[in-house]
Symmetry: D2
Subunit: 370 residues, 4 copies
Amino acid sequence: MRASSRAAVLEEFGRDVAVREYEVPGPEPGAVVAGVDYGGVCGTDVHLRHGRLPIPVPVVLGHEAVGHVEALGDGVGSDALGGPLAEGDRIGWASSIACNRCYYCLIEQARTLCTDRVVYGINQGADEWPHLSGGWADAIYLRPGTTVVRIPDDVSSEQVIALGCAGPTVAHGMARLGPVPAGGVVAVQGSGPVGLAAAMAARLRGAGRVVVLGAPANRLRLATELGVADAAVDITEVTDPAERLERVLPETEGGQGADVVVEATGDPGAVAEGIDMCRPNGRFLVLGQYTDQGSTPINPHRLVAKQLALTTAWGFDASDYVAFLRSLPELTARFDLARLVSVYPLQRANDALADVAAGTVTKAALAPAH
Amino acid sequence: MRASSRAAVLEEFGRDVAVREYEVPGPEPGAVVAGVDYGGVCGTDVHLRHGRLPIPVPVVLGHEAVGHVEALGDGVGSDALGGPLAEGDRIGWASSIACNRCYYCLIEQARTLCTDRVVYGINQGADEWPHLSGGWADAIYLRPGTTVVRIPDDVSSEQVIALGCAGPTVAHGMARLGPVPAGGVVAVQGSGPVGLAAAMAARLRGAGRVVVLGAPANRLRLATELGVADAAVDITEVTDPAERLERVLPETEGGQGADVVVEATGDPGAVAEGIDMCRPNGRFLVLGQYTDQGSTPINPHRLVAKQLALTTAWGFDASDYVAFLRSLPELTARFDLARLVSVYPLQRANDALADVAAGTVTKAALAPAH
Amino acid sequence: MRASSRAAVLEEFGRDVAVREYEVPGPEPGAVVAGVDYGGVCGTDVHLRHGRLPIPVPVVLGHEAVGHVEALGDGVGSDALGGPLAEGDRIGWASSIACNRCYYCLIEQARTLCTDRVVYGINQGADEWPHLSGGWADAIYLRPGTTVVRIPDDVSSEQVIALGCAGPTVAHGMARLGPVPAGGVVAVQGSGPVGLAAAMAARLRGAGRVVVLGAPANRLRLATELGVADAAVDITEVTDPAERLERVLPETEGGQGADVVVEATGDPGAVAEGIDMCRPNGRFLVLGQYTDQGSTPINPHRLVAKQLALTTAWGFDASDYVAFLRSLPELTARFDLARLVSVYPLQRANDALADVAAGTVTKAALAPAH
Amino acid sequence: MRASSRAAVLEEFGRDVAVREYEVPGPEPGAVVAGVDYGGVCGTDVHLRHGRLPIPVPVVLGHEAVGHVEALGDGVGSDALGGPLAEGDRIGWASSIACNRCYYCLIEQARTLCTDRVVYGINQGADEWPHLSGGWADAIYLRPGTTVVRIPDDVSSEQVIALGCAGPTVAHGMARLGPVPAGGVVAVQGSGPVGLAAAMAARLRGAGRVVVLGAPANRLRLATELGVADAAVDITEVTDPAERLERVLPETEGGQGADVVVEATGDPGAVAEGIDMCRPNGRFLVLGQYTDQGSTPINPHRLVAKQLALTTAWGFDASDYVAFLRSLPELTARFDLARLVSVYPLQRANDALADVAAGTVTKAALAPAH
């Protein structure tokens, strides 16, 4: 186990992150010290940097990551699936630990609504022990209670990071949505990591035809080339929602609308548009409204007259993370996930953040060893 | 079987209905001629009279009704539940016959979205044979394919009509919502027949606390006296949505919001308000947006951040009607349904319509025999 | 807080329990010391006494209990529902604490399958600190992580203990079963606490007609008098399963069978019988097969030809316990639960066990203060 | 449209089928005359020939078929999905027409339990008009109410017949089962058409690992070569159920058992074995117990202690048939379905029956045009 680790630290909102050095604590019983192979850079990190969420600073960023075991605390001999775990094993871990005491953990069993979660890379200040609580670092200290899963041999670490936290977020959404109709039509609004992950997840569950609406053009092209999307609509090109609807409906059975629509844009206006894309008796999964951007005009009569069901999902918990990891061998067999990833060395974290903010990369990942 | 029957006919939109006389056809095989005991008057009838829906005229109104068998066509020896059926038996019937051929009937099995339904009292013109296709009449001709159910002896015909089409509409909504948490809190927006039926249905399924928001005051008082509502908020008195929320939340566990909210107002603005009344991880059943009143500002972030599920239901089909009838013995044992009903003779159909339009009665019913 | 507490201890399998005295530890942070008002005696306690389950001895028995707060550890200011908690408050608590680390807790979210649960009154030896880990005592030490709920004022402690662990076990079963059809027919096999709790739970959720099959006669009479059962079949009187079926079917709609059957007997043979009591497309909830009594002949063709769904539930977790407590105000408003209870002073624990074994009481409860 | 059609007729139970000639009626309004491209031969046909089911004779056999439009009755301009339909179009059709009047059609909406279905190739006697009511013929008369679907251009008629009625039967089962966990483990008992269709359907819905138990060896080899099965157990080789369990468990995560088990054998004993193959909290879909072969020893404690849910499905209806057809483009993209099919000319129907009875072919299909 290494004695010290570099970490990319957000010290003050609005400022660049800085690389600092921390001592790596030996793992207490139940804990794991992991070397980081890739730390994903997510749109949320851009928001965090700008201070749009109430988090402690300084903080080691990086809520998405994949790595390998450097040291195991006493009592840690197996992963969350019951398989053996040893030094050197490649692992992923759920980004949060729910409190298991609050009403939402214990009674509702909706742990993503836990009011007292530990979230790596977000709400654990770097000034507090064990300091290394984020994935943008050579090493991360995974506390007792972290859900750690060994990565199957046929899945590369790059493939794990390719969808970042979008993968498990979508797994959660799919669990709440229920079955995708085999051979049915799914429309996905948004072509960022959540949109692409939703499109892949829908295909994996048997969707027959997937239409993706989003931008920029190169991301849509990638989605088509990877076999994720059967059809794509570039929203920078087709800017009128009515016209977009006219592009989507002919892709659906009898022009009636999609069996399932997944919203993954973050734009409130997409919700009204998505309602119009659903077929009567359809289902609408809204995944993308993570920040409060205020109200948008929605006509509830259209929901009711088509008898739609609208489902939402907030983040993901340990079971969603595992569900996603479990689906990775199938995903990687079907889609060349590595093509989504742009790798940066740790010291170029600010460049990665800038590229994510600009949308010039699909998925940025810091690779400390590079 | 009587030879002729009076019927209250809407001959022209915007005009009063007029009582006309029609010959009663003998029932063809599979058909039933029913004497009408009560024909309910629904808010929809007010809309129909004003020509707000595209229906044929002249038309015998009356999509809600209860009566008794006057004559059975060949081959009709049992009701939809398999019990024996004989002349004189008191019966109810589903107001619509789905086509069983269209995509929504056959493939989606969502018969309320059937594109080719027969609906008594609405889309069967009085000029067409068999003329008597509405419940505001001495007799109605129930075609082959109508779902006819014998009324249990311990349920009066007045109790059947008390909730009108609101009863089966709510049964449909509850089927789509899934279980009401036993002992949980349900908030109902609206105190018309749908709202009252929803509150009763929630209690019947085990709700522990029901809060009703609506108007006018006498309807809320009735809801409280009948044991339907534990708490009521008069929206003509508390006109500010924020203040209404402050009245509802303290009625819920930990002030967190209702486990289930049911919207039954028809007012688009109620949807945003209902979202705020839901607890995190709650469920929202939107039942009341039957007419298109345009868009309303809704904040999708609030749906997602609370991880809500929003369900809708459009009308009801034969199975919902039967589900409602089946629940009537339990409903009548708990709630004095007859208190909801104001009875008018057939020739006073226009007075009944006026009183429904004015909201001065909870449930108006025409009783041809009175 | 009292300094010491008596406790009824099973010191050796097959022997009588003995009353011993233990010091009451002051509560650590997160813990609660509760005075016990009633400690229920369950059929499982009879099995435990005979050593039929691998538990540590000596052990303070009592996995069902209700009491009041004697002392609150630091940080405990509210109950599991978020309401305030203070000394003297009457409380109930879930009998187990799931580990929140194992595959079944974390990934399947099926905490009743947790492989490492703390279970009060069962798997916490009396020789280990804090010694007072069972409900057959003046006081019990509730560890951090215990789900504690304040009892509503309108529910007596006797009413809480009346269904014992059967109440939350049935709440779990109902959650897995899904909605009971309002006005539908439910057949319950078994008239012990689980059977009675299932019948009540079904009624609470809207069942229209409940048939109970069981014994002895006085328990069935009680079920009928309390309004729990509409019809009862005494299995000691009608000993032939085919004849029992002939008694049950006429109670169901069209003689087709019950919409829902709940098995709560513990007798393997009841499963085949219950399958025959289900209507086509019905649902069968098997709750009673807790001990392994070997195989029984079952005809799978009957399951498939009727297209049945068979669901099971194993024990209950914190959320089921809370769901049950939440439903108590409704249950107590409808059923005189206190009539089920026979109270014994703590020192008569062996008599209570004997009476439970003999089936001469419906629900025995030890009341240390008596 | 041809004037007359040959048909393979079962004239008497236990005898060979004979080729007869019938006049082809012109289609009444709503009806379709279809030329048959392939008529599938199913295990059920073997049973029918031996008189094991109460059907009318003489009868044109063939409940599975695929063909093309020869003549459309008045009013038939579109298929069940709303797409245009014209002479020459290749089509499939649901084998049954539910009555839409009985309790199971109308109220339970479980049309596979309809008590009065028309079933092509099974319950429509050849002596009755329109005579040509089975698929083992040059042409079949599809009555008004038949669910007809146009076959997509990228799916061949041979691919449609490859799974026969097993495809829609499994679609029904999957609908009742609910989602297959993406990346999860599915064990399928049986390697006949239902077993193979179940394995494919599970993969299509995201299963990560599929284990098939069955025989004979060549069928298992085919399943492996087609990518349907990841592992196969030959039950003629491993004849001890305990040993089979030892072969299956290591294929599952942590040796805990399959997330989903599908029974498709028809052997009652497979049910007890399947229960043991399920992981705790798993789901068991029993599809194969179509004939009554009596009781088998089952231990209900094992169901409950593992908290299993057991689901069944009986046959399929129009919506299941459409669901299957919809999934065919995805299925054919992944699996070389045509490899399952052995084609026989119509006059060799008896040879086809003999080969199906002997298990020497996976799927036999009569091709009248050959």
